[in-house]
Amino acid sequence: MTLTADTPESAPPNGPAIYFDGTCSARNDVVVEAGIAGLQIFAGDRHLLDEWLYAELRRQAAPDGVLRLGRHGETLLARLEIRDAALAGAIEDRAVTLDRGGVAERKLRRKVVILSLAAVVSLIFTAIIGVPVLATRVTPLIPISVEQKLGNAVDGQIRATLDTKHLGAGFVCGTGANGAAGRAALDKLVGKLQAAAALPYPLRVDVVRRADFNAFALPGGHIYAFQGLIDRAQSPDEVAGVLAHEIGHVAHRDGTRTVLQAAGLSFLFGMMLGDFVGGGAVVIAARTVVRSSYSRRVEASADLYSVDLMHKVGGDPRALAAILARVTADHDEGIKILADHPDTKDRVIAINAVAPKDATTPLLDAADWAALKQICAPSSASVTAPASPPAATNAPTPVKTIQVRPATPGAGQKDDPAVAEQGGTAGGQK
């Protein structure tokens, strides 16, 4: 509040300020004069303490009503604090770098927000398009041994999740004397498929005591088929069709690819984006939507592989479509963008569109097929079979067929949650 009444027109604006020289914390009451090229800082005894050019002035964070100035490019933090509104205004008029009214600052902020939004869009596109492409390119570079180790690591977890009745070794069908014939039939069927598939490593196929209609492949070539699949199959080719689909996942190394994709997604949604309170839900939603879009593409290509492989071994390439259509006929398909498998109707149409219509003979003879159907039969007769009593309760008795229909509508559409996302919960649980 300079009293300009007795100040001549020519006198430069001046007023009181506090000056810190940056070397010592002493507070200096000074008078600042806003000259032509810069500020002159005078001590109380009128001796010139410092001169600051307007071009090097920078506004520093300060409470309301205080103009705090620093000098650009100085290692020392000399400061000038002006509470005199008139003087502060005069200085702001002369030094453009002070950004009077904060216009430049607001413009900069707008730019920051726009660039951030652009970054978000770019990262989302990277997630949808870039990550799967990258994962596909990187997957062949992962050594088979690493993939098998990964499979072993996931295997234990998956098994623990699936084996809800704690059957232990008895969880796998065909281990007892009763299931030996079924096991042999299964091996025969798998052997035919494997010979034609030419995989980089041996397959391991197990039927496990779970009543849902499901099958899935782990990284490293371990395929699980559920008892519910065997029970509902009407021909060996239907079982083979589903297994061929899983072998497709193994051949394409989808398990490893899924792990890589999940890692890439976690990096984008989790590390780069979504770090704010409540962001966890956004991250999960985004990951789910993007992951299901990858997974639908992968499933479609495994279906095609199944058709091809079935054709090669002389089986019925349409069997997969048949069993899919029959089992999932009366189920609600759920929310499309969240489903990890394509619509069953679309799958059936796609399979039938490419599958040749030649007549075929079943891949197993009647005796073998009957044995395979009985692979999970109760093994109470066998003394060596572990955990007999629980196994017996799990036999495909008519009463148990209630369980045949998956408990949740979501589970109905999935004949196999592919391998799965790493966590292991993927299995047939979903």
């Binding site: 509040m1 009293l3 010592c24 964070a61 705090r68 509470r83 005199d84 951030s116 978000v120 409540g278």
Partner: protein, 435 residues
């Protein structure tokens, strides 16, 4: 105060010298208005959500500028001169360090075929160590960006050593069921303050573990002591031999419980006792939390020293309670508002979408609305907490503090230089950052 000054070309100028504010020496004040802080936080929260978190570096910088600038010590305000871009670069560096680290970790786990629990524990310990390291370096970043009277603060000392001390201290606290907390806190604060300086003025911490212990002991006895007594009492009620037998005989879960209850008539009482004790303990802990906050904050502020300068705090417990009661009120209002607005939105939007008779669209839109409401509620709660509690305690802490020996503030000389924002970035990427 009007003063005539004679400057320049002999022209007499009248100037009101309110350059030096008239505040009693040694006073600490907080000058900021809550309304301004609300605006800053709400606008920031909206932009953070819109940019899926990228804006947080700018929000953090604005927040610090506000809090620092409005904290006045003995007539002069603090200044925060860090830049948001420094935080962003620090975060990107942290990501560049953490990603290979995570990858190496994943490979090691795969290669060694370790059982699931072991690598998880090792990983957790490593991340905790890295988190404490980051906290210490982040503190250095903030201190070196804090300017007071033209000089910056500084921090030295090895962050790795700090991280090790901090982890060991946490271990001791857990083993002693919290009884050692006052001493470990004093130890950690002494380490931090011993390595803190303002110009050439060295900091130290004089809060004693014993005094905090004595103030906190009654709380500990109620919150931790009571459940311990309940466990001891339960142990006496139960016939352990019977329990052992029941365990050995049992196969399934229900069988086990049946045997247990049959042979152990006291077990119901014991279980009731333990649940009652834990419930009471948690309730009391929630009710007493503001007391803990007040005691700890007052103890901490009163222990700060810089050379001859000592800080004292007159913080009252009831002041902290008032802060938390306000938090409850605001959270309640937010819940009410979110409930009403959410209900209306769901009703209106879903009603409209249903007209399309497309189940998928309805479900997707419903999910999106649910997600949006959740995010708005969460970020709203966090904003309320930040304004009412975090900034509220900052203001309280400042306004109840006073300096003695502040004459030493006039002769401090400059030292130190700014540090990198890597620590901040790590702290951010590891989710351990604070104001």
């Amino acid at each position: 105060m009007w003063v005539f000054r004679d400057i320049g070309r002999g022209v007499m100028t009248t100037a009101e010298v309110f350059a030096s504010p008239i505040v009693p020496a040694g006073t600490v004040r907080f000058l900021g208005h809550e309304g301004a802080y609300w605006r800053l936080r709400i606008k920031g929260a909206a932009l953070v959500v819109a940019t899926l978190g990228i804006y947080r570096f700018w929000l953090a910088t604005d927040v610090r500028r506000f809090l620092w600038s409005n904290t006045e010590i003995s007539g002069d305000t603090l200044e925060y001169n860090g830049l948001a871009t420094e935080l962003l670069v620090g975060f990107l560096f942290a990501v560049a360090i953490l990603v290979p680290l995570y990858m190496i970790f994943a490979l090691v786990v795969l290669e060694l075929d370790m059982v699931a629990i072991k690598p998880v524990l090792i990983g957790f310990a490593l991340l905790a160590l890295l988190g404490e390291y980051a906290l210490y370096r982040a503190r250095r970043y903030r201190l070196t960006r804090t300017v007071f009277r033209g000089l910056r603060f500084d921090q030295h000392g090895s962050p790795w050593r700090y991280a090790l001390y901090a982890l060991v201290c946490w271990g001791i606290v857990i083993v002693t069921l919290g009884l050692a907390y006052p001493w470990t806190s004093a130890f950690i604060e002494r380490f931090k303050m011993r390595n803190t300086s303002y110009g050439d003025l060295h900091g130290r911490f004089e809060g004693s573990g014993l005094s905090l212990f004595l103030r906190g002991l009654p709380m500990w006895l109620v919150v931790v002591g009571v459940p311990i007594m309940a466990i001891v009492a339960m142990a006496r009620l139960i016939d352990w031999e019977m329990l052992g037998n029941a365990l050995a005989l049992s196969q399934g879960d229900s069988e086990f419980m049946n045997t247990l209850i049959k042979n152990n008539p006291q077990i119901g009482k014991a279980i009731g006792l333990i649940f009652g004790a834990f419930f009471a303990s948690i309730t009391v802990a929630i009710v007493l939390y503001p007391v803990f906050q007040a005691v700890k904050l007052r103890w901490w502020i009163s222990g700060l020293r810089f050379g001859e300068i000592a800080v004292t705090s007159r913080l009252r417990i009831r002041q902290v309670y008032r802060v938390y009661l306000r938090l409850l009120l605001y959270l309640f209002l937010l819940g009410l508002l979110a409930g009403i607005m959410g209900g209306l939105t769901v009703f209106a939007v879903l009603g409209t979408v249903r007209l399309l008779h497309n189940a998928t669209v309805t479900q997707v839109v419903g999910g999106a609305i649910g997600l949006l409401l959740y995010v708005v509620f969460m970020i709203g709660s966090s904003t309320i907490y930040q304004v009412i509690v975090a900034a509220g305690l900052w203001r309280l802490g400042a306004e109840t503090a006073a300096l003695t020996g502040e004459a030493a503030l006039d002769g401090v000389r400059a030292t130190g230089s700014p540090s990198s924002a890597l620590g901040e970035g790590l702290a951010d990427a590891l989710g351990v950052g604070s104001i």
